[in-house]
Structure formats: C-alpha cells, structure tokens
C-alpha cells in the first residue's frame, strides 16, 4: 500500500513538473514579452533594459534553472505588468471562478446523473430519445454560442438578467447556467451508457431472480456498479473547477482565473501564465488522485489486485 501511494505521488509530481517545463519553454519561444509590454515605439535601450531586468536576455536553460529553483521554494515570480507576485494575482481570482464553477458543478451532477439514469431505465422510449436529443444539443453547441443565446433571450429580450460583469449575484446566473447545461449534457450521456452497460449484466438478472424489487435492483445493484465509470468523468469535472470556465468568463466578462489567463497570455505575462498553469496542473492531478481513491472504494477488484502487486 505504501508503495502504491508513493508511486502515485511520484507520478503526480512528474506530471506537474512536466507541465511547468513544457509551459515554460513554449511561452519563452512564442513571443517577446518586452515588445508587448513596452509600447511599440519604445527606445531599443528601454526594451533591452526590460529584458535584462526580467532575465530574458539569458539563455533559456539558465532562465529555467533559476525559475525552477525559486519555484521549489514557493516563489513563482512576479507579474511583468504590475510587479505583484503572480501567485497572489491568481489566488485572488480563484474565489470568483469557484463562485460560478461550483454551482455549475452541482447542476451537472444534480441534472446530468438523474437524467442519464432515467434515460437508461426508459431505454428507447420517447422520453429517452428526448433526453438524449437535448443532451446532444447541450454538448455539441459550443459554450460561447449557448452563452450568447442566453444573453439574447434573458438579457436582451426579456431583460431579466445582466449580460456581463460581476457586480451582483444575478450576474453569476447566466455563466452558471452556460457551464452547467453543457456539463450536465455530457454527464447524462455518460451515465446513461454506464447504466445500460450495467443493466445488461448477469448479476442484475440474478438480483431480480432472487426477488429483489426492481427499484432496489436499480438503486442497490445497478447504481453502485454504474458509478465506477461515471466517477472518472466527475473527477475530471472537479479537476477543471479552477480553470474550466475560460470561454464563459470571457464572454460574460467574469473576473475569474480564466479571464486572467487569457489576458496574461495575450500580454505574455509569463509568471502569471505559469502560475495559472501550475494551479490547473495541481487541481487536475489532485482530482485524478481522488478518482483513484474513489475507484478503490467503489470497486473492490483493482484495489485488491494492486495491493498484492
């Protein structure tokens, strides 16, 4: 068991290190921050001074070693725009993002999973087809299109909700719905197929044959098994709570991590982009680890198998 945890942690660290390195190299090769942050007609000496101040004149591997050494001690550098620590800029945006991604996540779970179960139990019925049609529409329509549609209806036509900004809780409603609907659609489809797979298994017939009432066959025998594959996608959704709203935040001018990412990339504000990517990597890796643990809890098979290995 210790070996299992140790190898998982080592793998997680490796993943995070890889993401940081990759982002570092790509960002340094993709454009000169000095040109973007200084104005175009800035004198060459000023640009050179800027490069020197941020260490951009040194070879990339030297920059990388310096960055990595600092990062290991918790210093992720400062924003090139306002000089504040990058990590601070990111962390102050996190609550804003969570304010829309957590309610959206609850919608995905609360709507998507029951809809998928319902559709599976009424396979090929009119209601199943309707649910799945809505679901296909829900996840094929890109989120910015859905966002604009919602704005058109609820802000422009009906005038019920604000179309952008973050001044009140009403401003959060449309972003939450946009995120929630698409995720619920994906989850509904996934849950349905997981349920159908399980309902066709011999042990479901066994449960019925031994006299278990159908409702209990579904809740007691089918759901625990269908939960196993569903957990994967739910874990992915948890992992993207921090950075899964880039497009929606941009459309609704919601000042979260996603918008900070877009702005920082555009400005080549390297340290900030790096810090955001690091945060994303950590949350994804943590979610993955949680999925693994949940798997072991839901399904006795792999846990036992690995424990012996």
């Amino acid at each position: 068991m210790f070996g299992f945890v140790a190898s998982r942690v080592a793998r997680a660290a490796l993943t995070i290190g890889f993401v940081v390195t990759f982002a570092f190299v790509v960002l340094r090769l993709s454009g000169d921050p000095a040109m973007l942050i200084m104005s175009v007609d800035a004198p060459p000496e000023a640009i050179e001074a800027f490069r020197k101040a941020w260490g951009l004149d040194r070879p990339i591997w030297e920059q990388y070693v310096a960055y990595a050494a600092k990062a290991l001690s918790g210093d992720f550098g400062n924003s090139m725009r306002d000089g504040r620590p990058a990590i601070e800029l990111v962390l102050e945006r996190v609550p804003m993002t969570l304010a829309i991604t957590i309610p959206a996540f609850l919608i995905k779970i609360g709507l998507g999973i029951p809809a998928g179960i319902f559709a599976a139990l009424h396979r090929n019925s009119v209601l199943d087809r309707l649910t799945m049609t809505v679901s296909v529409a829900g996840f094929t329509v890109p989120s910015f299109v859905l966002a604009l549609l919602l704005v058109l209806v609820f802000s422009v036509q009906l005038g019920w909700l604000p179309s952008s900004g973050s001044e009140s809780w009403q401003h959060a409603i449309l972003p939450i719905i946009t995120l929630g609907v698409a995720g619920a659609a994906v989850l509904a489809r996934f849950t349905r197929s997981a349920m159908l797979e399980v309902l066709g298994q011999p042990y479901i017939r066994t449960a019925s044959a031994k006299g278990v009432p159908w409702r209990r066959v579904v809740s007691g025998h089918a759901l625990p098994n269908a939960a196993i594959p569903t957990v994967t996608i739910v874990g992915f959704m948890i992992g993207s709570l921090i950075a899964g709203a880039v497009v929606v935040e941009s459309v609704f001018a919601w000042p979260g991590v996603g918008r900070l990412l877009v702005a920082s990339v555009a400005n080549r504000d390297l340290a900030v982009v790096q810090a955001i990517l690091l945060a994303i990597a950590i949350s994804m890796v943590a979610a993955n680890l949680a999925v693994d643990i949940a798997y072991g809890w839901l399904d006795p098979r792999p846990r036992r198998g690995r424990a012996h290995a």
Binding site: Q201, K210, G211
Partner: protein, 345 residues
C-alpha cells in the same frame, strides 16, 4: 404427483428492429412437486427463455403469451410486485456463468444476506449465522471467512456454490438451474451436479436442469424434455429417452454422445445447423437436417402428440419405429405411414 408449475401454450416474441421474432412457439410443460426435469437443446432452442419468461425476467422487448400457473396462480401478465414475491421465494434460479452472476462490488455475505432478509426476514447476526450455515450446506468450508470475500476472490465452482446457497436462502419449491455447470471444469461440474442432487433429495425441492448436454441431464433427472427451435420435440422419462429415443433429433443428440463403455466408435454429428428464429422452414423446423423427412415434414408443422401416458413426441415419422435403437432408423412401412398421417392431419 402434485403439479407445481403448469405451462400451457407459452409463446415469446421479441420485438427486434420493427419486426417481431418468435422465440417460443407454444410450450406445454408441467413440473411436479419435488420432481427433477431436464430441459435439453442447443443454444437458441428456447430452454432458458421458457423459464425466464415464466418468471418475468425477460427484457421489455419480449411479449409473452400463454399461461404459467404456479400453485394455481397465473404468472403471465401478473403485476411485477406479485412476481417479485414469488421469485427466490417459490422459484429460484441459478445461471450459467456464476462469476458474472454475482454482483462484483458486494461481498458474498451481503448478497446471501439480502436474499435472507427478503424471504425470511433475517437481519444482522441471525442472517450471518444462516448465511454461514448455507455456505456449509453447499460445501464451502470456512464459511465465516468466505462471507467476507468478493466474487472475484472465489473460483467459478465456488461462486456457483454461492449462487446455490443464495437460491436456497428463500427455501424455494423449485430451482431452475440454467446451464449451471457449462462454464465450469469437468470435475467441478460433477461436484455441482452431485450437490444439486443431494439438496433435492434432502429438501424435496423440485429442480429443472437446463443444459445443452444430454450427458449432464441423463443421470440427474427423472424426466427429460428435448427442445428444438422454440418447440418441445420430445418428452419422456430419462430411462425411456435414453433407451428408446423417438425423435430423430433426440437420436442424433444421443449418437453424438460418446459412450463410456463398449468399443470406441466415431461420433456422429447432426448435419446442418439450427435454423435462425426469423428464418424457420415452413414445416417441421428439424426437417432440413433430418434424414427421414419427407414431403409432409417439409410442408406442415407436426404437433406434439402423446405416444403413451409418459411420452410425447413432435414428429410425423417416428411413431412407426418406436423401439428403434439410437443410430439405426428402420424403414417406414408406407401404408401405415399414410394412415398415421391421415389420423394426425
């Protein structure tokens, strides 16, 4: 013998891609209290479907007609709640692949305990003690520890024993064993069959043993029903059936069975294959593979008729060589043949 189950004219149709495919063409079958009945046939012959239909375990795409009486209660078309009270309690069923027939995420003890709770109201320590006793009953040693095992930690044979223990939990009057040993090794197969026999003698529970293997059925049942393409084609006491098979299909099955004694001989297989249910011939479904079929066999469906009090056979031809040994069909006297056909048609 008291009739426990009485099946009359049971038909099953599956809706498939807008059309309806008949899987079962009117089955008449009785099972007496405490009796052991064998149901033999190739896959797709309808032997499992018969009992899944009787218990209402077929998917919604199946439409079931006819009558299945259990203790004078009609099961076809009965509300789900009524069927649920009968399943496991009056009629239990075990299946072909024991390892996937047990829920992989629950411990054995919980799965047996569930049946005990449903049928006998046992919970907690009482349920655990009874589950342990049942494991002991089906020959699983160290039951207390096994109750904490998951199905994947047990062998196929052990899992089938668990399935049997679970079936016994409801103290049913009838156990349907649907190919209970097909997925198991030969030695384990014999052990499971012996266990079923033992339990039957001890408890007086009736057993329906479904198998594609006449050899498996032979020593374990009082009466054998042979099925082919959704119909019962021959029914007889097991001794009679093995000594004097009447239907050409039964004779073919027996000829394909290796003899345990006597000289080694080449096994004879039945030519051709079972027709698809959506592509049945006009007449007797076995006619295309039958060495003795004539025009009438190809032209119309023979009925299942009693030969005597204990035997029924569905064939135009075989009534004329009732005592024919397994692999030597005798020539049919033409005159008698015509007379018989007149009588039947």
């Amino acid at each position: 013998m008291d009739k426990l189950v009485e099946i009359r004219g049971l038909t099953v149709d599956f809706a498939q891609g807008g059309r309806s495919i008949r899987a079962l063409h009117g089955i008449d079958l009785d099972v007496g209290a405490g009796e052991a009945v064998g149901l033999v046939g190739e896959s797709g012959s309808g032997k499992s479907v018969t009992w899944l239909a009787a218990l209402g375990l077929l998917p919604g795409t199946a439409s079931i007609r006819g009558s299945v009486m259990l203790d004078g209660r009609q099961m076809v078309g009965a509300p789900r709640s009524m069927l649920e009270t009968l399943r496991g309690r009056r009629v239990a069923m075990i299946f072909q692949d024991p390892s996937s027939s047990l829920n992989p995420v629950f411990r054995i003890g919980r799965q047996i305990g569930e049946a005990l709770g449903l049928h006998r109201g046992l919970k907690g320590a009482a349920a655990e003690a009874e589950a342990k006793r049942l494991l002991d009953r089906v020959g699983i040693a160290n039951g207390a520890r096994r109750l904490r095992d998951y199905p994947h930690e047990l062998s196929g044979g052990m899992n089938q024993r668990v399935m049997i223990a679970m079936a016994l939990a409801g103290e049913p009057d009838l156990l349907i064993a649907d190919e209970p040993t097909t997925a198991l090794d030969a030695t384990v197969q014999a052990q499971i069959l012996a266990l079923l026999q033992e339990i039957r003698h001890e408890s007086g529970m009736a057993i329906v043993l479904i198998s594609h293997d006449l050899g498996v059925v032979a020593e374990n049942v009082d009466r054998v029903c042979v099925m082919y393409a959704g119909r019962l084609v021959e029914e007889a006491a097991s001794d009679t059936l093995f000594d004097r098979p009447r239907h050409p299909y039964t004779r073919g099955l027996l000829a394909a069975l290796p003899a345990l004694d006597g000289p080694r001989t080449r096994l004879v297989s039945i030519p051709g294959s079972v027709p698809e249910p959506w592509n049945l011939p006009k007449g007797c479904a076995f006619a295309p593979r039958c060495g003795e079929a004539d025009e009438a066999c190809h032209g119309s469906q023979p009925p299942l008729v009693p030969v005597n009090a204990a035997e029924r056979v569905l064939c135009f031809r075989t009534r004329y060589f009732p005592d024919a040994p397994a692999s030597q069909p005798q020539p049919v006297p033409a005159l008698q043949d015509a007379a018989f056909r007149e009588a039947v048609l």
